[in-house]
């Protein structure tokens, strides 16, 4: 149930997939929204604190997810041509790489001056002991464009899942929604 099998994703993989998916969509919207807020908006500070806090949690989730992926069985690829399967593998790699880079770049913006990031005012994530010139600007630009790149990649990911589900009819979407118990 919890772990993956050759035929099905387990509860842990499914849950972490959706928690991250929803959080990342929320973060994308929040990111675009918060930078437009005016100085006197009651959310001016809180929105940024929330964005940073969720971002730090997402790094933790991503690390756990990658470890879980390594120590678990990987469900079989969905049927498809060699080319499609290779494309899927590359696509998934791109999604993971973008998520990691966005989270790390976000961390580097807020810690550029050596300040830690307070996660929900509970835990402080310290800054790295070094930084480079104009780090917050350069990394900020990267953070912005990678976030858009992730959204484009996610659109492709959703498109592929829908194609599997409704055109190939191989359950490509449903397998990320419920555990297949017939083993």
């Amino acid at each position: 149930m919890l772990k993956n099998t050759e035929k099905s994703f387990g509860v842990v993989a499914i849950l972490i997939h959706w928690v991250m998916a929803i959080s990342i969509f929320f973060m994308f919207g929040l990111g675009l929204y918060m930078v437009e807020l005016t100085y006197y908006d009651p959310w001016y500070r809180g929105s940024l604190d929330l964005h940073k806090s969720i971002g730090m949690l997402l790094i933790a989730f991503l690390v756990i997810r990658l470890i879980w992926r390594q120590i678990n069985v990987k469900p079989n690829d969905l049927p498809g041509s060699k080319l499609e399967q290779t494309a899927a593998r590359i696509g998934h790699f791109v999604l993971y790489a973008l998520m990691l880079l966005i989270m790390v770049s976000g961390y580097l913006i807020s810690t550029a001056d050596g300040r830690p990031i307070a996660v929900f005012e509970l835990v402080n994530v310290p800054a790295l002991p070094w930084s480079f010139d104009n780090q917050e600007d350069i990394v900020g630009e990267i953070h912005f464009w990678l976030a858009w790149a992730l959204m484009v990649s996610v659109a492709g990911h959703i498109g592929a899942a829908l194609k599997h589900q409704f055109i190939n009819k191989d359950g490509g979407l449903v397998r990320m929604l419920k555990v297949n118990k017939e083993n």
Binding site: Y39, A112, D113, R115, Q135, E136, D137
Partner: protein, 191 residues
């Protein structure tokens, strides 16, 4: 005859350039004995201060002819530093300095009026955020003289308050924070 005339011209030329050189100073950027600071009210409850870390310029000054003094300064706007990366990023962005579009701010004096031995009024054109405006502000001479390392130095301070909106920066920081005070502390080494 011709030769003598030529040497007279050369001598006169040297004298003139020598005079001009004698009064020209380079801002001591290398030794960081010059500062461009700013301060602005935060919500009306306190002062927020910061500075520009990278700028350069020259001035001319001669005690015997102070009203001929000139100064020009070029500021790298991206070097703004308010000791907070997130705020500096915001200040460099489109809401404020827009440093990508306006990487430089400049001040070029047009007039100096000596009031007494150590005080004067400096007028010049400040270009900030792509907007040029003439500003006038009081300047104080702090001192001048030989330094211990074989050079000659002179230093001035000046302070002025500018309205951000005048320079096209209209991000709303609240009614108490419409103006920013610029403080200049300049030391020059005679060239």
């Amino acid at each position: 005859m011709k030769k003598r005339m030529l040497s007279a011209i050369v001598a006169a030329g040297l004298a003139i350039s020598g005079m001009a050189e004698a009064a020209e100073y380079k801002i001591d950027k290398a030794g960081a004995h010059a500062f461009i600071n700013f301060k602005i009210k935060h919500l009306g409850y306190s002062w927020l201060t910061g500075r520009f870390n990278d700028f350069d310029g020259k001035f001319t000054y001669d005690k015997s002819n102070p009203n001929a003094s000139k100064i020009n300064v070029v500021i790298n706007t991206a070097s703004i530093d308010s000791n907070h990366a997130e705020r500096d990023k915001h200040l460099r962005g489109k809401d404020f300095l827009n440093v990508k579009k306006f990487p430089k701010a400049t001040f070029e004096s047009t007039k100096y009026e000596q009031l007494n031995d150590n005080e004067g009024k400096l007028t010049g054109i400040l270009e900030l955020h792509g907007v040029k405006r003439t500003i006038t502000f009081p300047v104080e001479k702090i001192g001048e003289g030989k330094d211990p390392w074989g050079g000659y130095r002179a230093g001035f301070s000046g302070e002025t308050s500018i309205k951000l909106k005048d320079f096209g920066i209209d991000y709303n920081l609240g009614p108490a924070s419409t103006h920013v005070t610029l403080e200049l502390h300049i030391e020059g080494i005679k060239l």
